[in-house]
Symmetry: C2
């Protein structure tokens, strides 16, 4: 472990031109963030009440009223500001500047004299600060504040929010630790760690890094702080489901550096792991790196859905056990896939290994896209792989599954998390180090020369069409291009001449001595994918993928009762025209399958099977539920 | 609608000799009830604290201390007493008489001067009587008290408990109703209705019947009492999951007589339906009968598992929607199958139709037996049809699924409910009216002549062996023998001569003019069963049944990863020797199937199928988990 293998390219340098992702990225700045702003200001009639900004006005003493919302309600505007920052940074956010400056001033006015900033505790429980770290989310809120402040400073050079964040961060670094008069605790929901690392990187103040490190190293140590705190509270809970708190839920059962199996709440787990990777880098800590590697493997090789979704249990939004991957009752929170992307990006940067981007790619191309509708006004919080709308009833096991995207949520973490992720998409496509540009995702975009990169680059990716990526540069360039697993027979041409690059850690290492056009050709065909036999939910089932895209069946193309459909192994799907109403020009896939009918008239009876031919249409999972609502299915029966 | 088609034969007249059910029935009186008594007295170290009897001692003022347990903790001893009564009645319970009399005296001493009896409210919330009908279970407790009192009086002629029950019932009939100064409410958990009908039948007091009728007719009427009560409580809840109370959960969304779809908590629903059938009978109410018929059809033709289990959602232990029958996350509470038996028994009695006993038989032979281990000391509360032990984790969606039976429960409704059901098994086998004995189940047993029946009868059922039932009588007898659906080519011989009985409402109508031996022969072979195509959880799957028994695969016979197994349609199972360690001498079944392997090494990959032959062993579902714990599977993949 020596160097860092690339850091994310600044948003300023990247412009997304991709027909699919470009659609979403443009929409974020033009439609999504303005709409979210209206929701945060309670101007959208259909959305659940937010009150987010009103809470700040009341906390600042500028309005009368009482707090409304969740203990983490403040984070909605913080993540909104972070997303806005990325839009400004990439030249798509000028229209936000005035309102952003205004809300930043408001936030600063809601800060307490000692730097504390949290509208819930300030308005509702001023005496109970830091007494309920398990549930109270104060450090989580602080983390998002800091991330927004760093992002806004980076984008604009303005320091108001950064100063506010630093004042709060200083209070936190003073308050927490194992020293005298310090609280030896750590957050119930990890996030502050990531934020403090970012604050350290922008300020150079080592104490922020050290407190981030303290939070990770103290976590789960003995005696267990959470257990002590819970005992002190004598059963008083904010959230009823935390009555019998499971330490694994919050990854506090053992110190993170000793953890080898990914456990508990999926978003908490991913945020923690991303921070661990940051700290492994900053401290060059081999033990933390080993833990990160094991936790990555546990996540992606044992507990991840084929869509890049994570979290098998609806109850507590959490990981369960190896190979337990139910398709119709899972959670796969959109935020958890955001966290997975953050973790993977950092692992690749730490190790130089491209394979970490495989899961990042799966999450981005499938679950992240599924999280928001093509018109940018509605969201999935939960991303199942099999939906029968009639079964998704309130007050049942499937109450968390919504068969259509929602306007907003009482717990509204996902919409703004998706927005900040898509608004900073360039960071997942490109990384740069002293002399090398890493190309990690194949999403059409332009890199303009600047501080990080001294040439212009244009990438045109056409994975599901010609199966190629064209990369033009206007000067010599040192590139590392990820060879994705789905790329068969990769071939590189530079200015029409075949080159044979060295493959190192999954990257094609290509040094171009002149400007020119590099073409990365690969054979990409729709492919059937099966799961390990230990995954009982996918036993005897297969699913269709095409490049990075997981495909699914929708009722609108295939009629209902999708569970009756079957397909023979080796069936060759036909690549069809895209469905016109869906963005991105991704092809639909069609193939011959079967409709298997049991012949049972009542509820149960002697089987009298009939097998009818069925023409089956599959579309990209990330685009499901953008037409007629109905059933959806990812894993279909293989007829064997 | 005119007459009643048989009432249950008194336990006094029936002795169970069946190798399987006889084992359990004997165990109930000899082991189960003594063991439960020890638990109720907190003498069993491994079992969770009960405190049930201690609560009564404290409420009676004879001990110092505070209430412990659930609001319905009292019912554990009531149901225990009811089971004891049936044992005494059938001559197997003399050893309980002294302790029963003693505990009955204790219960009576805990009764309040005005007749009220409930240790929770008396000790914890004396001012809050009847203020929380939705959650408080006061009427539910009262119902079990009354049922125990009637049963004990019937068994012994002793009136102490009956008097106690009557005093409480009188308070209830005075308290509830639409009259002035009455509470226009009804129970959150139905049970009192059934009990008041029984009390009416034993006392002849019409007011009990009328109050039972009132509770059913008032339920769900407008304005909705539950909603009014909840509003008055301003969100204060006993149970956190009732925070957003769903009226359907408690069948209070519309008056029961108008209900056509079975909804909500499965036990509540079944107890209500059983009471509705009682009231339809007593009042000769055609509208109630129509509702009962529709609710029965909704239950058994749309929402019942093949094991006779009901309740598809673990959360709230409830029905969900038609054909939503998940095998590994379902509830299928043992008590719900008890309720289904009660409902079906009454419907058959009301209509004279034998088909109601099909579902009773499925519940009894599968889920009820599964609810208790062969040694009578451990219980399943929840009865899944597919278990992978490692996935049944606390604090996840599968937290309600236990992979092995438990010593006892914090909510301990099932163990005593199973005990009272098995202790009174005769009522489900035989019914009698003026001149006809109905034979509804084929469980070897003896009927002795007495008040109800003026001859002795001996039934030897051997369904899975010779496929026959031998019935000997010592005098002329009018019989109605249910022809079960699994009986192919039923043939009757009387004293070795073929007879051709009339078949009426699913019963063979047989009038024997002399003593003799009737043999009911049928072809019963192991049979494959499939589900309706709308049941997505069973799509492309089949299961094996043999007579009334659902069969399942266990890991101990078939190794793990049962989801890999597949079987061709038409495969003929071989009937094998019983597994020696399991009670009842039921054959194991063996057949040739396949082990389907995807060939995927990691989590996902290109399928590379191999199909290996596999010899598969199936055993009766009701006996699962009586050997090495491990995986279990009812529905297996059909290879087609």
């Amino acid at each position: 472990m020596t160097k860092r293998f690339g850091h994310p390219l600044n948003n300023r340098a990247v412009r997304i031109t991709d027909p699919l992702f470009g659609h979403y990225v443009t929409m974020i700045s033009e439609k999504v963030l303005p709409h979210q702003w209206d929701i945060l200001n309670d101007r959208v009639e259909l959305a659940p009440r937010s009150h987010c900004l009103e809470n700040f006005r009341i906390a600042a003493g500028e309005k009368q009223g009482i707090f409304f919302g969740e203990v983490f309600q403040d984070t909605d505007v913080y993540k909104w500001l972070e997303a806005v920052s990325y839009c400004i940074e990439s030249g798509r956010g000028e229209h936000f500047t005035a309102i952003a400056d205004e809300v930043i001033d408001l936030i600063s006015r809601a800060q307490q004299p000692d730097g504390y900033l949290n509208t819930y505790y300030t308005l509702e429980k001023p005496e109970e600060r830091w007494t309920n770290l398990v549930e109270g989310h104060e450090l989580y809120n602080a983390g998002y504040l800091i991330e927004a402040a760093v992002a806004y400073f980076n984008a604009t050079g303005k320091r108001t929010l950064l100063k506010t964040a630093i004042r709060f961060a200083d209070l936190i670094t003073d308050t927490f630790g194992t020293g005298e008069n310090q609280i030896p605790g750590y957050p119930g929901h990890q996030e502050i760690e990531l934020a403090l690392v970012r604050l350290y990187r922008v300020t150079g103040e080592k104490k922020y890094l050290d407190t981030a490190s303290y939070f990770i190293r103290q976590r789960g140590s003995s005696p267990n702080y959470f257990l002590q705190e819970i005992e002190k509270r004598e059963g008083v809970c904010i959230f009823p489901e935390f009555q019998d708190y499971d330490l694994k839920y919050g990854q506090a059962h053992t110190p993170p550096v000793e953890q080898r199996s990914i456990e508990g709440h999926a978003v908490r787990a991913m945020y923690m792991c991303a921070a661990m990777a940051d700290l492994a880098m900053e401290y060059q800590d081999q033990d933390l790196l080993e833990a990160c590697k094991a936790l990555w493997e546990s996540t992606t090789e044992k507990r991840m859905f084929v869509t890049g979704g994570i979290g098998s249990s609806g109850f507590l939004e959490r990981f369960t056990t190896d190979y337990d991957l139910p398709n119709d009752s899972n959670y796969c929170e959109s935020c958890a896939s955001v966290g997975l992307m953050m973790f993977g990006q950092r692992m690749a940067s730490l190790t130089g290994e491209s394979f970490y981007y495989e899961a990042v790619e799966a999450a981005l191309h499938n679950t992240i896209l599924a999280g928001i509708n093509a018109d940018g006004q509605r969201y999935f919080y939960v991303n199942p792989l099999e939906v029968v709308p009639g079964a998704c009833l309130p007050a049942t096991d499937l109450r968390h599954i919504k068969p259509v995207r929602q306007d907003w949520f009482n717990v509204a973490c996902c919409p703004t998390n998706l927005a900040r992720t898509l608004a900073s998409l360039g960071q997942y496509i490109y990384a740069i180090d002293d002399n090398t540009l890493y190309i990690n995702q194949f999403i059409s975009s332009e890199v303009s020369s600047g501080a990080d990169c001294n040439y212009n680059l244009l990438m045109e990716a056409d994975l599901t069409g010609k199966g190629q990526v064209r990369i033009k540069t206007d000067a010599p360039a040192a590139l590392r291009i990820r060879i994705p697993r789905y790329a068969e027979r990769p071939v590189f041409l530079f200015n029409d001449e075949r080159i044979e690059p060295l493959i190192e850690r999954g990257y094609a290492v290509i040094n171009l001595n002149t400007a020119g056009e590099l073409v990365f050709k690969m054979k990409i065909e729709p492919r059937w994918v099966a799961a390990n036999d230990r995954v009982r939910s996918d036993a005897g089932k297969i699913t269709l993928m095409f490049g990075p895209y997981a495909y699914c069946l929708e009722e609108t193309d295939n009629s209902d009762r999708l569970s009756k459909l079957a397909v023979a192994p080796g069936t060759k799907p036909e690549v069809k025209e895209p469905i016109a109403s869906l963005p991105g020009n991704l092809p639909a896939l069609e193939y011959d399958g079967f409709r298997l009918e049991s012949g049972v008239k009542g509820l149960y009876g002697a089987p009298d099977y009939t097998i009818k031919p069925a023409r089956i249409t599959a579309i990209p999972y990330g685009l499901w539920c953008n037409r007629e609502p109905g059933e959806m299915l990812v894993w279909q029966r293989v007829r064997i």
